[in-house]
Every structure is written in C-alpha cells, then in structure tokens.
Symmetry: C2
Subunit: 277 residues, 2 copies
C-alpha cells in the first residue's frame, strides 16, 4: 500500500484509527471458547463490527505465540481474513523483530511473502542491516520502534549522544532515513510522550507515525493530533484493550461503539479542523 493510498483511506473513512488485536484467550468472552479457533472468531467479529471506523489493524504476535501452534494459525487466519475481506485496510504485524541480515530476511519472507501483512514493527537496536531486509518489498512497510509508550523508554531512548547532542530516539530517526523512505518506513511514537512529537516532526516532517498508548496507557488524542499531524495526516493512532475489551456481552457491538464515539468521531472533527477532509 502506498502512502497516498493510506491517506485516501483516511479521508474516505474520516479516521486514522488502528485497532490493536491483542487477543488474549484469557480475556475474550467465554462463549467463544466453544469455537474451534476462539482467537480468530473473536478477531473476525471485532473486524466485521469495526472496519468502517478503522484504517488499520495491528495484531500483536505475543498474544498468538502464547497459544503455540494454535495461536500462530489464528494469527495467519486473521491476517488473511482482513486482507481478503477488507483489502483496503492496512495490516501491521506487531512483532518487534530485528536480527542479523540473513535472519531478518527470513522474517520478511514470513510476514510479507507467506502472509499478506502490509507492515511490521521492527526494533532498531541492531542497526541498518537488521532493518533493511524488510525494505525490499514494494508497498510493504517497516514500522521502526522509536520512542515507545512504556516506562522503560526512559532507560535508553533519551540517552544524549556526546558527539551530536541528539537523544537516541532522535538518532534513530536521523540515521534510519537513509535506510528507507517516507514510502516504506514509519515510526512508533508513544502517545504518552506526545509533547515530543513536535521535536520528532522537525526531523521527520513527512513520515507516518504509528502512535500507541492512547486509551489504556493514558495518552491524549487531542495532544497527539496537535503536535503530530501533518498535511497527509501522518498519524495512525492505535487503541487496543479499550476497544476490543469494551464489554463482555455484545463485545463486537460495544467495540464498534467505542471505536466510533471515542475515536472516529473526534478524529473526524480533528481532520475537519485541520482542513484535511
């Protein structure tokens, strides 16, 4: 999917919402456990109910790997179901991979050739050759971890480089721009550090940013839009638990309500205010 196609979808749906499919079998409604593949069934119902308010889904691999082979099958079925049923929707495998070159190439094969994911999250610690194998697929994207939403982001990501005066997360932005382009690379910036978005936009004015941490983790949508939005929107805001676990009963309907009222509607207002729709 190109950057332009992504922006067109945002304009059409008047939304820049991504729903995180953090599907924990211990948290899904009990009545789903009678299905052969409860994780997939949960996802399918969530996707069918919410797809009109959503431009992206982000299944997090941890929740599927925790179920072993069965979980991996549920992940595959989920990705294929979304891309076959709603091909315009952007699917991000939240895998946070990254390894030496020949190994990263295999992860790229797994997620971009065998599966039809549009993007995957990658960790930057091992540098360019751990990321570049993911960049060789036209229309596919790397979503590079940059400034994460968790407490541990303060351990290393704000470390100041003695040679340049830049913090590590800024170095990641600066250096990685030579690895890919704004057509195949985005960055993860946690909503809990929204005020940093202004600094980030100085370095990457035109790249898309994937912003988790709104909702359960406490980040603010208004702040994220204030500091992070650009002329192509440039934002994909993710919410997971708050939407998918909105209710035990009628979970899909309630998820759709939260997606609509708490995200799509405010997002539509913001996009109008900014003159993007």
């Amino acid at each position: 999917m190109t950057k332009q196609e992504l922006f067109e979808q945002i304009r059409k749906k008047k939304s820049f919402l991504c729903v995180g499919l953090d599907t924990d079998v211990k948290k899904i409604p009990k009545h789903l456990l009678r299905y052969e593949d409860p994780q997939f069934e949960f996802n399918r119902e969530i996707v069918d109910a919410t797809h009109g308010y959503v431009i992206a889904y982000k299944p997090n691999l941890a929740f599927y790997e925790a179920e072993g082979v069965k979980g991996w099958a549920a992940f595959e079925k989920t990705v294929k179901y979304i891309k076959e049923t709603y091909p315009e929707i952007f699917v991000i495998a939240d895998a946070k991979r990254g390894d030496i070159l020949n190994t990263s190439s295999l992860y790229a094969r797994a997620f971009f050739e065998i599966l039809p994911c549009d993007a995957m999250t990658v960790a930057p610690y091992m540098g360019e050759d751990s990321v570049s194998p993911f960049l060789g697929y036209p229309g596919k994207w790397v979503v590079l971890l940059d400034l994460t939403s968790n407490k541990g982001s303060f351990n290393f990501q704000h470390m100041v480089n003695a040679a340049t005066g830049k913090e590590l997360y800024q170095e990641v932005l600066i250096q990685s721009q030579d690895w890919g382009s704004k057509e195949n690379m985005m960055y993860v910036v946690g909503a809990t550090q929204a005020t940093k978005l202004a600094d980030i936009r100085q370095i990457v004015p035109n790249h898309f940013l994937l912003v988790p941490g709104v909702g359960a983790q406490g980040g603010s949508l208004a702040e994220v839009a204030e500091y992070g939005m650009n002329a192509d929107c440039g934002l994909i805001v993710n919410s997971s638990r708050e939407i998918i676990y909105a209710s035990e009963e009628n979970f899909a309907l309630e998820a759709a309500k939260v997606a609509y009222h708490k995200y799509q509607q405010p997002m539509e207002s913001i996009l109008r205010e900014k003159g993007l729709i």
Copy 2:
C-alpha cells in the same frame, strides 16, 4: 537451570559450544523433504549426532516462522525433543523479543510456561519493563542483546552517553544489572567484537555471555576465550551455519565432526589451559 549446573555441564562435556538451529528448509538436504516435518527431522538428527559436544542449542525463531504454522510446530517439537531426550542441555529460544510489560509477559508465558525453553534472547531498546517479565521464572534466563555481531551494531550500540561517557552497550550492561542477576541474565556479545570483551568483563565479571559470530561471521574462538573467559567459564559460544550445513550428504555426521574437531577439541584445550577442568 542454575549457573552452577551450567558450569558443571561445561566441565563434564569439556565444551562451551552452543549450536544454532537456524534450520532453513531451502538449505536442508533434499531427502528430508519427504518427511512430514523436515525441519524437525533435520534438527532431531543434528541434535542426536552432536549432543555429546554441546551444552546448548539455540533455535532461531525466524527460520520457523518463515514456514508459518508448520514451522511453529517444528520449533515446538524441537524444543520438547531436546528437553525430553537431553534434559541437561540448555535451550535458548533466539527470538529477540521485547515489548510493553503486559505483552512481554505473554511472550514469557509462551516460551517458559507452555514450552520448556531455558532462556530467550530479548532486545533492550524498550528498557526495564520490557525485560523484567522474563525474569520472574526460577531457573529461566534472559539473554539480553548487548553488542551484536553484525555491521549494524555500529549504528547505535557504540553511541557515547554525554552524561556518563559510556557507550550504549555499556549502559545496557550497567543498567540491566539492577533488573536481574548473574543467575538469570546473560548478554549477547558478538565474537566479531572480541576485543571489547575485556571492557565488558570490567562491568560484568561474573555473568555468562552468549557469543555468536564465530564461524560463518568470522569471529575467533581463541580471542573470545582470551578476553571473555572467567572462573566459571562464563562463555557460551554459538556456531550455526558452519556446523549444521557442514555437508549435504551425511549432514548429521559431518555436523558432529565439525562440532568435535573445530569446537569441542579446541574448547577442551582452552578449558585445560585456564585450569577449569
């Protein structure tokens, strides 16, 4: 497995070799493809042939995920086979995971509860709360990426902290010592940067180090031992491709020969020289 048990195994086998099970279905002998699970069959034969010279196996998840559900099943069968057949051998899931706390907890469940892995590799970029969920399992280990063997390690890992004068890989060693102990944390240090091992031993004199990059990637066993060995050996040296793809014909026998002649025998000499056996 405790640190003491690991050292006892090193003394018993006179080896500190780990074999990386980077099992690529495109590279394994063609006659194995008639088996229902060729990756597992390859691993089983490699393990049966080499276990006497080896203290650890390290299946790399990328090679299994590249085969989807079938690959995940092969990974699970491999781990279970090793732990059931050779329970003294240390099994490292080379997964390079790391995510926000609730997600890392699920990865820990997948690899340490559902599967009997002894250790897994974890990336440090997201900091303490992305690593700590893996540390709550007695006898299980985190192998934290520190100074990797690839070219991209020079992108960020050597960045000097303006506040402390330490490089990022040193900061990772220093800070992470408060997260775990030498009984549940090791570090990845690539053999291609062996001279840095002396500096690393200043910071973590007693921790085990997992050292990839000997063999196909060009690192030297003698140098690694010279700069990295401590009183409990403190080293697990990994070789993958050079051993498992030693030959197309009689692959398991040839793998065992390489493991024996190129690794176990020199390792025995080194352990004797250092007075550890």
